[in-house]
């Protein structure tokens, strides 16, 4: 099912023309209305006239998360505050949060792109959608909410937390679609199993999961535990929120709605564009946003883009799974470690629960690298030897995938915190002098 066929299946040359027109317009808008962008362009000797088509995008300066912090709260708004109808903010773990503002038109673009996502995942106006992303400053809840209303579906505005009630209402209201973070979906699946309510009594068929990177193995795990088909939805607060892109039934990558959000992939070291299909850091330029346009925003997400037409009929570019975030990447004893690698090993081993915690520290100038895991109840043994053998097995597997040997710590059932939102997978206690 395709929500906006004209755009989603547009000839690629036509799309480039549309993007070029919109890019010129947004650069002018940003230049004339935001001192931050004007200053940066003037430093580089650029004027809006230097941008003729999307090929000129490489001339433009990058924007990074720190720029949003430095201009807290409203420094990057390109319209008077009287035009801003809504604010959202990301929970800043360090320092100030990231604040974004939307005009009325921005909100309608957002609900349009979320509608495309929902249709791509097979959601229709006949479906009831339980939105278990947090509502409030976080973009997840309200973003999905408006998309569901746009297609005419029924929203259960659950928000996150209160897991018992989530399950009760999912059951009683016959929710067909669940939207939340993948780690919360896993937790819900686990809790449903414990609740003893037979799975056949649930109407759940489709899951729309995002806001944190996840792997194909995790998808399988969720699909099996909830008995659903799981789709990846992609988005980030700085660009608009969830709904920048979503998978279709083919699941050959996440389609990005590039008439509104122009993606590029750059080499994070040289900052130069890479060839289509090559991995690198994802960069977005918003082509239509009024309230807070983003010019070449560096997402830190590592992925690659594919421009071949999809089996679903869409020509919209497809993004690979996020390999990790370039700032999530841990450098342990000089080796690059992605939490997603640790996750993939754990999910391949049936003896372990799909939850983990990486703890990194520095002792006597050497990095320590501990991975905490839980053994599934049926694999606990009375014999020390068997548990130690399990530990040895996972250690060897981790070492072969990651390249360095972690210290595996088997912890008691349920001692790794189950998250309601974004799972916390890493504790880095290193203090770099």
């Amino acid at each position: 099912m395709i929500w906006n066929e004209t755009i989603e299946c547009m000839d690629r040359e036509e799309m480039r023309k549309l993007q070029s027109i919109r890019l010129k317009r947004v650069v002018e808008h940003a230049y004339h209305n935001t001192p931050f962008y004007r200053g940066k362009m003037q430093e580089m000797g650029l004027t809006p006239g230097d941008v003729e088509s999307i090929d000129d995008i490489t001339k433009l300066p990058f924007t990074v998360k720190q720029d949003l912090r430095d201009n807290y709260p409203f420094g990057l708004m390109a319209v008077p505050m009287s035009e801003i109808v809504r604010l959202h903010a990301s929970s800043g773990t360090t320092g100030k949060p990231i604040v974004v503002g939307y005009t009325r038109k921005d909100l309608s673009i957002w609900s349009e792109t979320v509608a495309r996502c929902l249709y791509a995942a097979g959601v229709t106006r006949n479906d009831t959608v339980q939105v278990s992303y947090g509502y409030g400053l976080f973009t997840g809840g309200l973003g999905l909410h408006s998309g569901v209303e746009n297609i005419g579906g029924t929203v259960i505005p659950m928000s996150s937390g209160n897991t018992q009630k989530q399950i009760q209402l999912m059951h009683d209201f016959g929710a067909k679609v669940l939207a939340c973070t993948p780690s919360y979906a896993l937790y819900l699946g686990e809790t449903i199993k414990e609740s003893g309510i037979p799975r056949e009594e649930f109407k759940l068929k489709i899951g729309i999961f995002g806001a944190e990177p996840w792997t194909d193995n995790m998808r399988k795990e969720i699909e099996e535990s909830l008995g659903i088909k799981a789709y990846d939805i992609y988005g980030l607060t700085e660009v608009i929120g969830p709904g920048v892109g979503c998978e279709c039934a083919c699941q050959q990558g996440t389609h990005l709605w590039e008439d509104h959000f122009l993606p590029e992939i750059i080499n994070p070291d040289t900052l130069q564009p890479v060839e289509p299909g090559e991995p690198g850091e994802l960069v977005f330029t918003t082509l239509t946003k009024e309230g807070m346009p983003m010019i070449r925003y560096r997402t830190r997400d590592l992925t690659s883009l594919h421009y071949e037409k999809c089996g679903c009929g869409r020509t919209a570019v497809r993004m690979d799974r996020i390999l990790g975030r370039s700032d999530d990447m841990l450098i342990i004893r000089g080796v690059n470690v992605f939490p997603s690698q640790v996750e993939s090993v754990i999910l391949e081993m049936p003896e372990f629960e799909p939850h983990y915690l990486i703890v990194v520290d520095r002792v006597n100038n050497t990095d320590t690298f501990q991975i905490q895991v839980e053994v599934r109840p049926e694999f606990y043994s009375d014999e020390m030897g068997k548990i130690l053998a399990l530990k040895k097995k996972i250690t060897a597997q981790m070492q072969s995938v990651i390249g360095i040997q972690p210290e595996i710590k088997i912890v008691e059932p349920r001692s790794i915190e189950r998250s309601m939102g974004k799972a916390k997978h890493v504790i880095d206690n290193r203090k770099l002098v």
Partner: protein, 141 residues
């Protein structure tokens, strides 16, 4: 003559055993014997208790990883050479012992044995006129 032994996986953290002991105590469950096998970051607590089904329920409710293993409890006179004699019988029958633990009181000693073949071990010991303690009697000691 097999006895059901309860095993609990515990992380090496302060107060873990205390909590288990409290939970069982509050439920009126008595421990007849126990042993701890430890590694660097976790331990396995093995227990013989007066009401194993209730103990499992209580511990599972608290999310402990518990398992049940069949063991035999051998009665031995508390004197030199008594254990050697029993061990000799087990070894000659080709039975391997995973682990064992014991307690003595006055003239008698009790040895709890986890062999690789628990049925065969019980049979061999009985055939050689050694005394095995039944679960119901063990709880009375």
């Amino acid at each position: 003559m097999l006895i059901k032994q309860l095993s609990i996986f515990l992380e090496n953290k302060k107060g873990r055993f205390t909590e288990v002991a409290k939970l069982l105590g509050e439920a009126g469950i008595n421990m007849s014997a126990f042993t701890v096998s430890e590694s660097s970051d976790f331990g396995i607590l093995r227990l013989i208790v007066s009401d194993i089904d209730k103990a499992i329920q209580i511990l599972k409710d608290k999310l402990y990883a518990v398992s049940v293993t069949d063991v035999v409890c051998l009665y031995c006179p508390n004197q030199p050479g008594a254990l050697a004699k029993a061990m000799d019988i087990i070894t000659n029958a080709g039975i391997f012992i995973e682990y064992m633990y014991a307690f003595s009181q006055g003239d008698s000693a009790h040895v709890i044995i986890r062999p690789d073949d628990v049925e065969k071990c019980a049979d061999v010991l009985k055939a050689n006129k050694l005394t095995l303690i039944a679960a119901s009697d063990l709880y009375k000691l």
